[in-house]
């Protein structure tokens, strides 16, 4: 896989909170410092920096990565920002991979930061500007509406109930109770609690949605010869994939994320995975909405189409189930500072494979995991497969 085999050797994150007192730059610095400390490296060891963040409209900072660059450790170094909407967090790790796999750099710091609370009165206002300026924006669409369309399409295609889907929110918020950085962990939450939350855009209720959050996450990625020196427990990047569908989302079948399947197939091929259901032991699919976890598990080919809800009801995706899914607590539980949330999923797989996930540790010593994010106008899939 590439000229250099690439390992993740360190990870760090800030708490995910509703309204951080720190500036965006300070959040980036905190996560970057923690990641470096976790593998006992300093900025002198870093050859290049990837700084990713999702829409500039949240912070209201044009060329946001330039502003963040010193906070993320980029002073005097090659700094680059990639951007694929909500898929950015996992894509940042893919960028880190190609920086190192290219042979140009030995050690790369990957930082994702998001500060949504700066957007007043509510970040949904920023989301208005993701829609087509001619055909859609005049309708004043809201992001929740298009998710309501998608959730409805998924439910009606497979005859699902709201309760089938709320099980995901319950699982993830309970898992998050064990995450020290989580915003919405709750060990006692029930399906009734979710079903009793206010309706935002039917069938989407507040309990189905991840919270607006501030936070940052960072990884240290390096070439094999450095990894062997730095740690006894490198976690290898085995495969990466990403794919983008048309901007004309109204022409698509909303009940299945084809772009996620394409990204997964690319990553599995690179990783030599032929039977993902047997060869993948743990998954962190993107769950900004509860139905999205189910949607994405099917796109990742881990369950048949329409069968992820049944598996969830049977407990297969619980932390002690056959395929632990979002043991971190996911976006629904830990929080959703967009780009940082995606990278948090990669960090969770890293900690789980190293057996360092503490109270969240899944049993059975998993050897391979997949993290996935999704974004743009229900359009892009980003996938990374990690193994030990």
């Amino acid at each position: 896989m590439g000229r250099n085999r690439v390992a993740i050797v360190g990870a760090g994150m800030t708490k995910f909170v509703r309204r951080a007192q720190e500036t965006a730059k300070e959040l980036a610095w905190k996560a970057a410092s923690k990641a470096l400390e976790s593998c006992e490296l300093t900025l002198d060891d870093i050859d290049a920096v990837v700084v990713d963040t999702a829409p500039d409209a949240f912070d209201g900072i044009h060329m946001n990565a330039e502003y963040l660059s010193d906070g993320a450790g980029g002073w005097g170094k090659p700094v680059i920002r990639g951007y694929v909407g909500g898929g950015t967090g996992v894509f940042a790790a893919i960028q880190g991979w190609y920086h190192v796999a290219s042979g140009l750099f030995d050690t790369v710091l990957v930082v994702c930061e998001e500060k949504m609370s700066s957007c007043q009165p509510h970040p949904q206002g920023a989301f208005l500007t993701i829609f087509d300026h001619t055909t859609e924006r005049p309708l004043k669409p809201n992001l929740l509406w298009i998710f309501a369309l998608e959730m409805n399409a998924y439910m009606s295609r497979y005859g699902l109930s709201k309760k089938d889907i709320a099980l995901v929110a319950v699982k993830n918020k309970r898992n998050a109770a064990d995450h020290p950085a989580a915003l919405l962990g709750d060990p006692d939450i029930t399906v009734e609690d979710i079903l009793n939350t206010e309706v935002l855009a039917w069938p989407v209720q507040r309990g189905d949605v991840s919270p607006i959050s501030d936070g940052a996450v960072a990884l240290v990625m390096c070439a094999e010869h450095v990894a062997r020196r730095v740690t006894d427990k490198p976690v290898w990047v085995e495969g990466v994939g990403w794919s983008l569908d048309t901007a004309y989302w109204t022409n698509r079948d909303l009940s299945y994320p084809t772009y996620v399947e394409e990204a997964a197939r690319m990553a599995y091929k690179m990783a030599g995975i032929t039977e993902p259901r047997k060869q993948i032991h743990i998954a962190e699919p993107y769950d900004p909405f509860d139905y999205k976890e189910l949607h994405h598990l099917e796109g990742l080919l881990l369950f048949d189409k329409g069968k992820a809800p049944e598996a969830t009801a049977l407990g297969i995706t619980q932390r002690d189930g056959d395929l632990p899914v979002c043991p971190s607590g996911g976006l629904l539980g830990v929080g959703n500072p967009i780009a940082a949330a995606g990278l948090m999923k990669v960090a969770e797989i890293f900690w789980q494979l190293r057996g360092e996930a503490g109270a969240r540790q899944v049993p059975g010593q998993p050897k391979r995991g997949v993290a996935q994010a999704w974004g743009d106008l229900m359009q892009v899939g980003t996938v990374i497969v990690l193994g030990i």
């Binding site: 060329m63 951007y83 290219s102 140009l104 500007t129 901007a247």
Partner: protein, 383 residues
């Protein structure tokens, strides 16, 4: 990087001050079709990955990545955005190809600056929101202060900066792609109205619309596709600090660092003798001089005299911005670096028409992301 990655196709939509007849999608499509024809490829079959370079605020759209795939023939394929300069996009493509997992990667960047009614206000959103933005100053004040400092540290005369404008806009008259060709004198430039003293209006590049698409391929594929690949010899990029309060105002340290990385990946020890010509960021006229020095193409403080002596003219010993640069072509926002690279490719292929440099074998392109950033990227190409 010895013959591992090459540019095998280039396409463009010409650079014009306004383009009311074209949408950004149409400009991207026009540039892409030219590039794919030039490379002899079908994007749906032959391209492994696409890179677009764009900034949301310049586009007026959040998550601009959404609106990229259709007009590039990139549906259901790996597509990513780089929010940087076009040369950062080239860097992403080069890295992907060097991993060995991608054979053909396409890079696109464009500018639809004429759609933006309040560019200075958009740019002001790039200022540090806590310390600098409340000053509510036009961001070009940074360029004025930096120019003053550069002139003071090096003793460069104002006339040398003005000569950069005269040279570049004259070069642009020989470039059918360029939107701002003009026959000016040093006095014209110095007498134009002040923007942020000592910076005058004619010493700032005006904006233009346009698009550039490039097709990059791995060595073996490049040789199979074309008998005149333009090889990527070296690449480098770097940031200095973003803090206005702690940056070195006289020298462009980001350009020095990006240049050093590019020279080291290219195995170049003596850039002035090993490189034949350069396309260098000239968003503001003094920047061409400052960047020439930082890139080690002349000694510190000598770029002004060199320019006044004609050393960097089209017929000089080391032509700089034969295309006309940003001053002559128009500043293309995030596409600026790709416009620089495009000229280097055309020169190395011998396709630069009336501005062709004889026996050009190695060329350098360097881009800067403009105020208030300290972000630069360089690429070295050879035929």
């Amino acid at each position: 990087m010895i013959r591992e990655v090459a540019i095998v196709g280039v396409g463009w939509s010409p650079f014009r001050s306004i383009t009311p007849d074209l949408s950004y999608k149409e400009m991207m499509y026009e540039a892409a079709v030219r590039a794919y024809e030039d490379a002899g490829i079908d994007p749906r079959r032959d391209v492994d990955s696409f890179v677009t370079v764009a900034e949301d605020f310049n586009e007026g759209t959040s998550i601009f990545d959404e609106y990229v795939p259709d007009q590039l023939g990139a549906l259901h394929r790996p597509v990513q955005t780089i929010t940087g300069d076009g040369i950062h996009g080239i860097a992403a493509a080069v890295m992907q190809i060097l991993t060995g997992q991608f054979d053909v990667v396409v890079v696109e960047a464009h500018s639809k600056a004429s759609n933006v009614l309040t560019l200075p206000h958009i740019l002001a959103y790039a200022m540090d929101p806590v310390f600098n933005r409340p000053l509510a100053a036009h961001p070009y004040f940074i360029a004025g202060m930096e120019m003053r400092r550069y002139l003071a540290e090096t003793g460069t005369p104002l006339e040398a900066c003005a000569q950069v404008v005269v040279k570049n806009r004259a070069n642009a008259l020989r470039n059918p792609l360029a939107g701002y060709g003009a026959d000016l004198t040093i006095d014209d430039v110095l007498a134009s109205e002040p923007i942020a003293e000592p910076l005058t209006r004619l010493a700032c590049a005006d904006h233009a619309d346009g698009a550039v698409v490039m097709v990059l391929a791995s060595g073996e594929t490049a040789r199979a596709l074309t008998d005149r690949p333009i090889w990527v010899r070296g690449i480098g990029w770097a940031n200095d600090t973003f803090w206005l309060e702690s940056r070195p105002w006289g020298q462009a340290r980001y350009a020095y660092l990006a240049g050093q990385m590019a020279y080291s990946t290219a195995g170049i020890k003596s850039p002035r003798t090993e490189i034949d010509f350069a396309e260098i960021d000239d968003t503001f006229a003094y920047k061409e001089l400052q960047h020439l020095e930082a890139l080690g193409l002349c000694k510190p403080g000598e770029a002004g005299a060199w320019t006044l002596e004609g050393g960097t003219e089209l017929e000089g010993e080391f032509p700089v911005n034969p295309s006309g640069g940003s001053l002559g072509e128009g500043h293309l926002l995030d596409c600026t670096g790709l416009a620089r690279v495009l000229e280097v490719v055309l020169q190395l292929r011998g396709e630069a028409g009336p501005r062709q440099i004889e026996d050009a074998e190695v060329g350098l392109a360097f881009a800067w992301r403009g105020v208030p950033t300290t972000s630069g990227a360089a690429v070295i190409l050879s035929n």
